[in-house]
């Protein structure tokens, strides 16, 4: 085995075994404790097959299984934390009116995307440097007043699995690496993010993202792991905001 080939395989193995999370929070944020009421908004979950060409083909059965697993995993994870937790499987059971919940959900999608683009990805905003002060504004406050919850947790999770064709493309690419022309084809991967909204102020006080090339949320165990990585070690703002500069 050439040194180059060993290097390529090592790199592939390192890439394959990786789960990364990165949280940011409002500087004054303290993880909820004691008596608090939290609602987990309908989690947005999708699971698909990664085609040879690199597109994700959504699978209904996988998605339904994963959604059920994620709901269950959140319930189990939150049960250990002391607060009163409601997990809303649908918008209808989240309280307030379905239209208001849908609006809040969409607003969060927009703000959550902005956070990922401007806080995590490269498009950093100079005015947001060294701080985390995103908000859902009055809509969230109104929702909190109408329902009596202190916090709302939003969660998005997706998972994909390489098809046989994709695995073959990856293998071919790796052989190329061995002779010096690398064409890296990414395999199946997990991506998730969660955000905690303080309903008294409407502010997003804590945000976490997860990227992983291992795991399987179609299984109960895999969903538990994802939720544990994403939500277990919620840190106070003073501990994470400095690192998010």
């Amino acid at each position: 085995m050439t040194k180059r080939m060993r290097g390529a395989i090592l790199a592939a193995v390192t890439l394959a075994g990786c789960t990364q999370t990165r949280q940011v929070a409002d500087i004054g944020f303290r993880p909820p404790e004691g008596r608090y009421r939290l609602i987990v908004m309908r989690p947005d979950v999708s699971v698909g097959l990664l085609t040879a060409g690199g597109a994700v083909e959504l699978r209904e059965d996988w998605t339904l299984a994963a959604r059920a697993n994620i709901l269950h995993a959140i319930e189990a994870q939150q049960a250990a934390r002391g607060g009163t937790v409601t997990v809303a499987a649908t918008r209808e059971v989240a309280g307030s009116t379905p239209a208001a919940v849908a609006d809040l959900d969409r607003l969060h999608q927009a703000v959550g995307t902005a956070i990922r683009v401007h806080k995590y990805a490269r498009a950093k905003l100079p005015t947001k440097k060294g701080r985390f002060d995103w908000t859902l504004g009055d809509d969230a406050v109104r929702f909190g007043r109408a329902t009596g919850y202190d916090y709302a947790l939003f969660l998005h999770a997706e998972d994909s699995f390489a098809s046989a064709g994709r695995v073959a493309v990856q293998a071919l690419g790796m052989l190329g690496c061995a002779v010096g022309f690398c064409v890296i084809a990414q395999g199946g991967r997990q991506a998730a993010f969660a955000s905690l909204v303080e309903l008294k102020t409407g502010r997003i006080v804590w945000f976490n993202t997860l990227a992983s090339s291992v795991g399987d949320i179609r299984t109960a165990d895999g969903a538990d792991r994802m939720i544990a990585s994403l939500l277990d070690r919620m840190k106070p703002g003073s501990a994470v905001t400095a690192s998010a500069r």
Partner: protein, 412 residues
Amino acid sequence: MTTRRAVVAGCVCGCAFAGAARSARVRPAEMQALVGPGYRPADADERGMWHDFARLEAEIASSNRLLGSPAMQRYAEGVIARLLGDRAAETRVYLIHDHAFNASMAPNGMMIVNTGLLARCRDEAQFATVLGHECAHYLRRHSLQRWRDMRTKTGIIAFVGAGTGLAAGVAAAAGAYPGTWIDVANAINAALVLSIMRFTRAQEAEADAYGVRLIEQAGYPPGAASAIWQQVIEEDRASARARGRRYRDATRSAMSSHPPNRERMLDLSASARELEAASAPPRRYDGGREAWRAAIAPLRARLLEEQIGLNDPGVSLYLVTALARDGWDGLLRYCEGEAYRLRDEPGDAARAATAYARAVASDDAPPEAWRAHGYALLKAGDADRGRQSLARYLERRPDASDAAMVRFALTR
């Protein structure tokens, strides 16, 4: 350039022309539904697709961009029922605020119709043309086939890409020039990308052919289909002319998802003649102009405002003039005035004033026409008549959001 490179370049050009070449017209008689009534997906990829669109549909069903006109909703459903009969129950139509001339069909029967389409149709037959085209996509399972075609071809592209790395590496190790392999791979992959676009254009041609047959069977004049494309082309030309640009059809590209507009118009017109000739005894068609005018009347002011607000004067003036082929009315005159006022070129203020004056001369002028007429008169120094006109506006719209401002203008 080496010989091999020249060959590769030749291949790429050849493929590009093949990609852009005019394809033969699809005959309406050849078009049949590929799925039976009440079809539900069975394969994993199609089930996934339906599941995905069901989620999207739930979002659209609660969207604040819905037109929110129960009467127009019923009317659109009625037209689909005429086109599809019993199978209309498999579709759901959503009328959405979007100024672009467009409509779309999801694999699960969810149809989206833009207000930009409603604004441009002159009769029910034109409206039915677009709905029929979208229904044809559903009956022919185009979304699924498009996905499968793309999945196969992008898969080959990925294999070619990865294989090229290996081949180039081996070639380099053997002391050969590796670039040739990369050129070959790029040529193959470029051809595949063109082939994906060609596939979608073929589907659009099918939907056009099937759609025109659906409207003919429903008793609409099949010529309505080419008429609407004629309007689209004229509108694009008017827009380009007003902006001082040369007209260029963006759909005349090997990368276009739809066939060129002119080609579609000519094919639809040939298909219409074919269908008319084949109907024996000759059918009596009804374009449904009166039904359309009645259905669209309560919405037209809003629809035109949405278009004219874009301030593309070429489009605005074309649209108003095209709709006025069926007769000018107060609303169209007011819109003409607004288009001139927004364009604001030398002489436009006078043109706008004339249009407003004509608008208020008609019984069906919208209240805003009185306001516009009033301000135009005040500007021209005709204070008395200007105030009278503004007062007419306030009589008709006492609760208008700018009522206080207009009252202030009256005191001066």
